[in-house]
Amino acid sequence: MTTLLKVTYLTTHIGSETRPVRPVDEISFSVEKGETFALLGESGCGKSMTALSLLRLNPQPVSRIVRGKVELAGQDLLNLSEAEMEHIRGRRIAMIFQEPQSSLNPVLSVGQQIGEALQWHFDINGEALHNRIVELLSSVGIPDPLQRIKAYPHQLSGGMKQRVMIAIALAGEPELLIADEPTTALDVTIQAQILDLLKQIQRDTGMAILLISHDLAVVAQMADHVAVMYAGQIVETAPREDFFQQVNHPYSQKLFEALPTEQKRQQQLTVIKGNVPALDTVFKGCRFVERCDKAITQCDQTPPKWYQDEQQGVRCHLYDPSDNLISDQKQNENAPSVLQSIPFEQKPVLVLDDLQVHFPIKKGLLQRTVGQVRAVDGVNLQLRQAETVALVGESGCGKTTVGKGILQLVKVTGGQVVYHDKVLNKLTNSELRSQRNALQIIFQDPYASMNPRMTVSQVIEEAMLAGPATLNANERTERIVHLLERVGLDAQYKHHYPHEFSGGQRQRICIARALAADPKVLICDEPTSALDVSVQAQILNLLRELQQEFDLSYFFITHNISVVEYLAHRIAVMYLGRIVEQGSRNEILKSPKHPYTQALLAAVPKLEGGTEREVIRLEGELPSPGNPPQGCHFHQRCPKAMAECKTAYPEPTQLSADHEVRCFLY
C-alpha cells in the first residue's frame, strides 16, 4: 500500500503569540490509500482542529498553522496558494461534519447543492449534470432520487441529510474523505446505516477515510488504523486488531475501563480523575501525568518521547526501552458496587396507566385543531422503590415526553400518573405542589439546565425553598455544603456561577439540586449523553451510589444501550409513542422478542466481534407521530411483517412474570 496523506509535526496555534492555545501540537501520522484511519479522543483534545488544519480551514485570523507538513501524495498542501487549495478541497480531500442540519444550505435544493460541487470541479452541464446528481443520490442510498433532487433540506430527516452531505463530498471523487463525528448526532439505527454506507463506498471507490470520533465502538467497527489524541498530541497509534487487544498508553487503557458494559455491572467504573489540561499551559512533563495512576517521577519532569515499534507507537515513559519500569506497576482493583435486586412482587412507587400526551396541530386563521401529534399514546409502566427502569428508543419516539408527562410539565391528555396512590394529573395546582419535591428530573444538557445568573448555592437553595421542608438560612447553607460534598464537589465553590464549571461538574450540581428536594423518584433524561466517556463513568458511579444511599428509583431515559446494560434493572423499549416490549434487563438484552428491539440491539456498534457480524438492518426511519401508520406502527420497517400487522395494533402478550411484548408473532 502507498501512503496517501503524510502529516509531519503539524502545529496549529490559536490566540496571542505570547501564550497561544495549542490544540494541534506536533501531530504526525499517515493515511494509506484505501484505509480508514481513526483519530480517537475526548472533546477538547484537538481532533477537529487537526482535521480543519489539514484542509487549511482553521478559523482565520485567530488561529494559524505554525509549522509542519501536510503531504497529499507528495504535494505539500501548506505551501499552496489559496486558489490552488480550492481545487484540493472537495476534489481530492472532502469533508463531512457532525451536524448535517447546519452543514446544508436551507434555501437551496439538494440537487442544486450537489450540482454546485460538481460544476466547481468538473466541466459538466445540462443533462449530464442532472444524471450525475441522480447517480450520486442513488449511490448514497437515497430512495427515489429523481424526486429528492428537488427536495429542500428541511424536507429530509437527519439520516437523509447526512447521506446528502456524503453525496456532496463524493461529487469531487476525492481520494480522502475526512469524516468529523459523522454519526454522533444520529440515532443508533441510522448510525448503523451511515457507517455501512461509508464502508460500502470505500469498497467501491478505494477512497481513504480519516474518521474522527470519540466513540470507541464506532472506531472498532470502522477503522483499520487507530490513533489516540490527548491534549493536542497523538499518544498512541496501532492497527485496529492490536489496539483492541492490547492498549499501551495509560490514557487509552483508562478510556476502555471507563466504558460501562455488562461485565462491569458488579463493580464501579474506572474514572479518570481531573480534566483535560488547558491547552495554553506550557507542559513540562507528560500531559497526562496529573490524571495518571501509573505516573513515575520522570513523567513530571521530561516530556515522554515517541516509542515506535513497527506499526505500533506510544508516547509514554513506561515504554522507554532503556528502562524496565512496567513490571512494578500493580493493577488497581475497582471497588465492587453491586446492583441490588428488586423483587418483582414489591409494590410499585410510580405507576403509569395508559398515559397519553397529545399535542394539537393547529392551522388556519382561527387556529382550529386539525389533528393530534400522539407523542405518547398509551404507556403502561411501573417503577418500584430503588429500581432503575430504562426507557430506550430512537429520538422522536416520545421518551422525553413521557418524562415530562410524569412531572406534569406537559398537560397529560389521558390516562393516569399514580404516585403513592395519588393521581398526579388529577390534582389541583396547590395539591400538586406539595408532591412536586418527590419527583425530580436531571436533564441532558448540563449547560442549559442551570440559570446562568444564579450561583451554585442559589441554584441548590431554590430546591429547598420550593419544597415543603422549612429550614432557616443557616440550616440551608449547611445542607448546601453537605450536598455539594456528597456529589463530589468542593463546597468552597458554592458562590461560583455555573459557567465556571466543566460539563461533568455541572451535571453533579444538577444532581445536587435534585437531591436537595429530597426526592423519591429521579427522572434522568439522557444525563450522560453530552459528556465524555471518562466523565460519564463518574456520573454513573455517583448515580449508583446515590441510589443505594437514598433508596432512589430511577426512570432512565436514554438511547445508549451500554449505559442501560450497566445501570438498569428493567428495560422498556419505546416506538412511536408506545412501549413495544418491556421486561427485566436480562430478558430484553439476552433474548429480545420484538423485531424492533432485535434490530435496535443489533445496530449498536460493539467493541468486540469486529466488522463481520450478522445484523438486522432497519430500512427507513421513524414515521411521524402526527400521522402514524395503520395497524402496527412498526410494520413498514419490520422484516417479519405479516398481513395482520397492517390492520390492527397488537395487544400485549405476557411472556413471563415481567416480560411483555406487543407483537403478533407471539
Binding site: S434, R436, L439, A448, S449, N451, P452, E462, H499, C510
Partner: protein, 473 residues
C-alpha cells in the same frame, strides 16, 4: 410670616428627579451590603472605559441636578409689615452659578469669541456720524482697551487658569494619595508608584488624568466665559453656552423619566404575554399591535394639544411660565413613554417565549416553584441585558425625538431651553451666508458627549453583569 429671601418652587419633574435620586441612593446602599451584587459594579469601576464614561455622566448629572432646585427670589419691599412678594420668574440654582452667562445678553448673533456683532447695523459713532458696520458687542471683550489685545488676552487667561487648575488638581491628587495610603497602610511613595505604573486595583491613573481634564476644561471655560461668549450668541443675543447647559436638564429628564414610564409597561406586559401564553398573550398582542398601527406623532400631538387646552382653561393652577412648561415636559415624557413601550415589549415577549422552555425553568417548575418566583428568579434576570441595551438606545433616541417633536410644535414648551429647540432655531440659520454654525454645533457636541458616554457606560455595565464574560475567580 417669615420673609425668606426666596420661595422654593417644586416642579413636578423636580419631585420625580428627587425620587429617582433617592431610589438610586438606596439601591447603592443596599448593593454595598451584598457581596454578589457589589462584585459586578466593582468590575465596572475597574475598567477604564467604565470610569471615564461614569465621570462624564456625573458631570452632566451634576449640572442637571443644580438645574433642578428651583426658587423664586424675593422682591425688595419697602413696607416690611406687608406680605412678601416674589418674582414671577423661576430660577434654578444653576442660574445663580452661571449668573454672568445669563445676564450678558447681546443684541443678536455673534460668533464664538467675537468682539463685534455678526450682522452689520446702523449705529452712531459719534454725535454727527452714522456708521453702517459690525457693532461692538456690549459685554464680550468690553474690558479690552483695543481689539488687537483679544488673542493675547485669551492666551493669558488660558495660561493662568490652566496653571491654577493644575495646582488645584495637584492638591486634590496629593490629598487623595495621602488618604489612600493611610487607609491602605503604605507609604505615600509606594502608593504613588503603584498608581503611576498602573498597578492599582482601580484605574486610578485614568481617574486622575480624567479629573485633570475635567478641571482644566471647566475652569478655562468658566474663566473665558466671563469676558467672552465662548460658544457665541443666538438670534436674541443669549449666550449659547448658557443654553447648552440649561438643555442638559431637559435632555436628562426626557431620557430618564420616559424610560421610567415605559419600563414597567414593557417589562410586565412582555413577560406576562410570553410566560402565560393563552388569552393573556392574545390581549397584550392586540393592545400593542393596535397602538403600533397609530402614528406616534398623532397621538403625541393630540395629547399635547389636549393638555394645552386644559392649561388655558385652568390658568389658576399654573402660577408661573416655568410651571406651565414643566407640566408640558412631564406630559411629553408620559406620552412618549406610552407610545414607545411596544418595541421593547415585543422583544421581551419573544425572549420570554424562549426562556420559558429552558431546562432550568422546567427544573424549577418540577421543584414546585411558583410562577411569581420563576418570573423573578429565572426570567427577569435573564432579560435584564436586553432591557439595559434597549434603555440606553432609547435614551439617545428620545433625546433626538424631543428635537423632532419641537420642530412639529408638539415638543417641549418653546420657553423651555432644550437641544431640540436650539437645533430647531439654528435650522433656520443654516441657509445664511456666512453660516451661523455655533448653535447647532454646540447642541450637537453636548448631545454627542452625553449619548456616547451613556452608551459606553451601558456597554461596560452589561459586560459586568453577564456571568459568561466574567473571569473565573
Amino acid at each position: 410670616m417669615s420673609s425668606l429671601p426666596f420661595l422654593p418652587v417644586f416642579l413636578w419633574t423636580d419631585i420625580l428627579i428627587y425620587l429617582l435620586l433617592a431610589v438610586i441612593l438606596l439601591a447603592v446602599l443596599s448593593i454595598r451590603k451584598h457581596a454578589h451584587l457589589k462584585a459586578p459594579w466593582k468590575s465596572v469601576l475597574q475598567r477604564k472605559r467604565g470610569v471615564i464614561s461614569l465621570m462624564i455622566l456625573l458631570c452632566y448629572v451634576a449640572v442637571g441636578l443644580l438645574d433642578s432646585f428651583h426658587f423664586r427670589s424675593a422682591i425688595e419691599n419697602d413696607k416690611s409689615t406687608e406680605e412678601q412678594h416674589y418674582a414671577t420668574e423661576v430660577l434654578a440654582v444653576l442660574d445663580l452659578v452661571i449668573m454672568p452667562l445669563r445676564e450678558q445678553v447681546e443684541k443678536t448673533y455673534s460668533a464664538p469669541f467675537a468682539t463685534r456683532s455678526f450682522v452689520r447695523e446702523m449705529h452712531q459713532a459719534d454725535k454727527t456720524q452714522l456708521n453702517y458696520d459690525y457693532a461692538k458687542l456690549q459685554y464680550a471683550g468690553s474690558h479690552l482697551s483695543s481689539e488687537e489685545d483679544k488673542w493675547p488676552d485669551i492666551q493669558a487667561t488660558v495660561l493662568s487658569t490652566s496653571a491654577k487648575a493644575s495646582i488645584l488638581w495637584l492638591l486634590l491628587a496629593i490629598t487623595f494619595i495621602l488618604l489612600l495610603s493611610k487607609k491602605r497602610n503604605v507609604t505615600w511613595r509606594e502608593q504613588t508608584l503603584r498608581m503611576v505604573s498602573g498597578q492599582s486595583r482601580y484605574p486610578l491613573r485614568t481617574v486622575l488624568l480624567m479629573l485633570w481634564l475635567i478641571v482644566m476644561t471647566v475652569w478655562n471655560i468658566a474663566a473665558l466665559s466671563v469676558d467672552y461668549h465662548v460658544l457665541g450668541t443666538d438670534k436674541v443675543g443669549q449666550d449659547v453656552l448658557y443654553q447648552s447647559l440649561k438643555s442638559i436638564r431637559t435632555g436628562l429628564v426626557i431620557g430618564t423619566l420616559t424610560t421610567l414610564v415605559m419600563l414597567p409597561l414593557a417589562v410586565s406586559m412582555g413577560i406576562a404575554a410570553g410566560y402565560f401564553r393563552g388569552w393573556i398573550d392574545d390581549v397584550i398582542q392586540y393592545i400593542y399591535t393596535t397602538l403600533n398601527s397609530i402614528p406616534g406623532v398623532l397621538l403625541i400631538a393630540a395629547a399635547v394639544l389636549m393638555l394645552q387646552v386644559y392649561m388655558n382653561n385652568h390658568p389658576e393652577n399654573f402660577v408661573t411660565i416655568a410651571e406651565r412648561a414643566d407640566m408640558r415636559l412631564l406630559f411629553l415624557c408620559i406620552i412618549l413613554g406610552v407610545t414607545s413601550w411596544t418595541g421593547l415589549c415585543r422583544i421581551l415577549r419573544g425572549e420570554t417565549l424562549k426562556l420559558r422552555e429552558a431546562e432550568y425553568v422546567l427544573a424549577s417548575r418540577a421543584l414546585g416553584t411558583g410562577n411569581f418566583n420563576i418570573l423573578r428568579r429565572h426570567i427577569m434576570p435573564n432579560l435584564m441585558h436586553i432591557v439595559m441595551i434597549a434603555v440606553v438606545l432609547d435614551f439617545s433616541g428620545l433625546v433626538l425625538a424631543e428635537a423632532v417633536l419641537s420642530y412639529v410644535g408638539v415638543g417641549v414648551d418653546p420657553s423651555m431651553i432644550s437641544w431640540g429647540n436650539m437645533i430647531n432655531s439654528a435650522r433656520l440659520e443654516m441657509a445664511r451666508d456666512p453660516v451661523v454654525w455655533w448653535s447647532l454645533t454646540a447642541a450637537f457636541i453636548f448631545m454627542f458627549v452625553l449619548v456616547l458616554a451613556a452608551n459606553l457606560f451601558a456597554d461596560v455595565v452589561r459586560d459586568a453583569f453577564d456571568p459568561q464574560s466574567q473571569k473565573a475567580a
